[in-house]
């Protein structure tokens, strides 16, 4: 839509820091996270559970629970304006209208006591001031747009009467209702069957093409990344460890963590009778964020780690024009 402004990203997160006060001390759940999203683009955020993917999404929406959470530094610019400077009232106008969210669990993210039609109409009434009747009519249209058969009848049903896939379509309809510029999909298919996952991805791709909405797709599924995204940001322990175009990340990952994530994906073996090598894994778990040392957070699990990794946190360095990674191996000039 805004093709003449390609130099200015639609959404730009720079050096975002979020801290949580916990009993064990202050946990820095996001440490200088930066992202860029161009209009109409799909950006994937990958990482294991607890890496700060969902926190990044909630911080962009300014929905982190506070207390104990707090955004301590950084900027979130939507079309040039810093959302972190907005008051709550203005932020409410942004939520659902300019940026909307699709949640992981379609079973629990719909309100059980209202019909799905009501719930889609809700955000239309809030943001576009439509009357009940107009909003209800638009809700039926939205249900149709996300591929729900008999939208008239479905609009009058309660969430428990729909299947998981249908409910996630309803969530997508709610997210799309006001024509947002950005949709943040937080693991939208994790709770669904594989066949339904494929349908939901098809739907998202199709909607993106029709509406030119930009999407941030949060996932730990490398398959989804390969299929859906244009760019990828890899996060570990609240930091961005690598970012770049999807082909570069998948074909030539530079950070050992990214390499590990890709190696973990099971392949369909064309020759199932042959001896199969064991599936690779990344040893260990994501460290507690209250006990991060001064070095690279991934060093304890990294098979290439050397002395410097424990001493100093690596900066992000450019590998290519728009491919960056934060690893000492790259600066030492010994690509892994």
């Amino acid at each position: 839509m805004s093709g003449h402004q390609t130099d200015r990203p639609l959404l730009q997160v720079s050096n975002l820091c979020v801290e949580f006060r916990t009993r064990d001390g202050i946990a820095r759940v996001l440490d200088e996270v930066s992202l860029e999203l161009q209009p109409g683009q799909t950006l994937g955020i990958v990482g294991e559970s607890g890496c700060g993917k969902s926190m990044t999404a909630l911080s962009i929406m300014r929905l982190i629970p506070s207390p104990p959470g707090q955004i301590t530094a950084g900027e979130v610019r939507l079309a040039g304006e810093d959302l972190l400077r907005f008051d709550e009232q203005r932020m409410r106008d942004i939520r659902g209208k300019d940026i909307s969210m699709i949640f992981q669990e379609p079973m629990t993210s719909l309100n059980p006591v209202f019909t799905v039609g009501d719930q889609i109409a809700e955000s239309l009434r809030l943001h576009e001031g439509l009357s009940d009747k107009e909003a209800a009519a638009r809700a039926v249209k939205m249900l149709k747009a996300v591929g729900i058969p008999e939208p008239q009848a479905r609009a009058r049903e309660y969430p428990h009467q729909l299947s998981g896939g249908m409910r996630q379509r309803v969530m997508i309809a709610i997210a799309l209702a006001c024509g947002p510029k950005v949709i943040i999909a937080d693991e939208p298919t994790t709770a669904l069957d594989v066949t339904v996952q494929a349908q939901i991805f098809d739907l998202l791709r199709d909607l993106k093409e029709r509406t030119s909405t930009a999407i941030i797709l949060i996932t730990h599924d490398m398959g989804a990344i390969a299929e859906m995204t244009d760019r990828v940001t890899v996060m570990y322990a609240g930091r961005v460890v690598e970012e770049g175009p999807v082909e570069a990340i998948l074909d030539a990952p530079k950070h050992p963590y990214t390499q590990g994530l890709i190696a973990c994906v099971p392949q369909l073996d064309p020759n199932p009778t042959a001896e199969r090598p064991p599936l690779e894994e990344i040893p260990g778990v994501v460290p507690a964020l209250t006990r991060l040392g001064k070095g690279c957070a991934f060093a304890p699990r990294c098979k290439y780690a050397f002395e410097r990794c424990d001493q100093e946190a690596p900066r992000r360095v450019s590998v290519d024009a728009d491919h960056r990674a934060a690893c000492w191996l790259l600066e030492e000039g010994t690509s892994a």
Partner: protein, 271 residues
């Protein structure tokens, strides 16, 4: 769903019957319950002037049952309403905002909880007047803490559910989230507790009347039990009949509460 619940329908039938008797009854059977109509302690069925007998002053029991219902039902309803309004507001705010709001409201709740309820109500009634309005307010003031705790627990549970985050993510504000997103989901247990509160409020009013602390100018079932207690061994009817009315009323209200609980649960709706 509600209509297919026979117990609840029976409760509703009983309640409608009671309300009709107390509202239309006085027009049909216009004997003044305070008036002396026959010899004292006449048993039921012996005298046509007082078909259900008379109490120790010779007042008509049937007239008392018919005229005493209005006060009892009105106090029960009003007290339950006050209980729900205070309890729900306190519980909702505490459970939603947490932190300092929760601390303050919960300490206040505990303060009311540790007061002996009957004593506190008696003090209020003696301090002000023993009019029905004061009695209803007094009962409401001593009964709200359990409702507040229940509401708070429900809000604590629901505030962290994903559909509340989802409501926030489409731009709903706090007041909307409290009253239009969380409250409808918190209602089922609160409705049941409210109907049970009507029952306990009626019993409470009966207790105060029994102690002679309720409005002396208003005839209520509790007052009848209180005035008949000295002759309970000679004239069982003066105590048992109004007691039975209270029993039936509380039973009816509880059955309806249970039925409403089922009816409000969308998972049980048409499937």
């Amino acid at each position: 769903m509600f209509r297919r619940n026979y117990a609840a329908m029976f409760g509703l039938f009983l309640l409608v019957l009671l309300v009709l008797v107390t509202l239309i009854g006085p027009l049909v059977y216009s004997v003044d319950p305070f008036e002396i109509v026959w010899a004292p302690l006449t048993p039921p069925g012996e005298e046509a002037t007082a078909p259900l007998g008379t109490d120790y002053l010779g007042r008509d029991i049937l007239a008392g049952l018919i005229h005493g219902g209005v006060a009892t039902l009105a106090v029960g309803l009003a007290a339950a309403l006050i209980t729900v309004v205070i309890g729900l507001t306190v519980g909702a705010l505490a459970g939603f905002y947490l932190g300092i709001v929760d601390d303050i409201l919960m300490r206040v709740t505990e303060f009311f909880q540790v007061l002996p309820a009957l004593m506190f109500a008696m003090v209020l009634v003696t301090l002000f007047s023993s009019s029905l309005v004061v009695v209803a307010i007094a009962i409401g003031l001593v009964s709200w803490p359990p409702t507040a705790r229940l509401a708070r627990a429900e809000f604590l549970r629901i505030r962290n559910l994903e559909y509340v985050s989802a409501a926030r993510s489409v731009g709903a504000k706090n007041t909307r989230i409290i009253w239009q997103v969380i409250l409808p989901n918190a209602l089922p247990p609160l409705i049941v507790s409210a109907t049970l509160t009507i029952g306990t409020a009626i019993l409470f009013e009966a207790g105060l009347s029994f102690l002679g602390l309720s409005d002396p100018n208003t005839y209520s079932w509790g007052y009848m039990i209180g005035s008949g207690r000295d002759n309970i061994l000679d004239a069982w009817w003066a105590v048992t009949l109004p007691g039975g009315m209270i029993f039936v009323t509380v039973l009816a209200v509880s059955l309806i509460g249970d039925g409403l609980n089922d009816a409000f649960n969308p998972k049980l709706r048409e499937r």
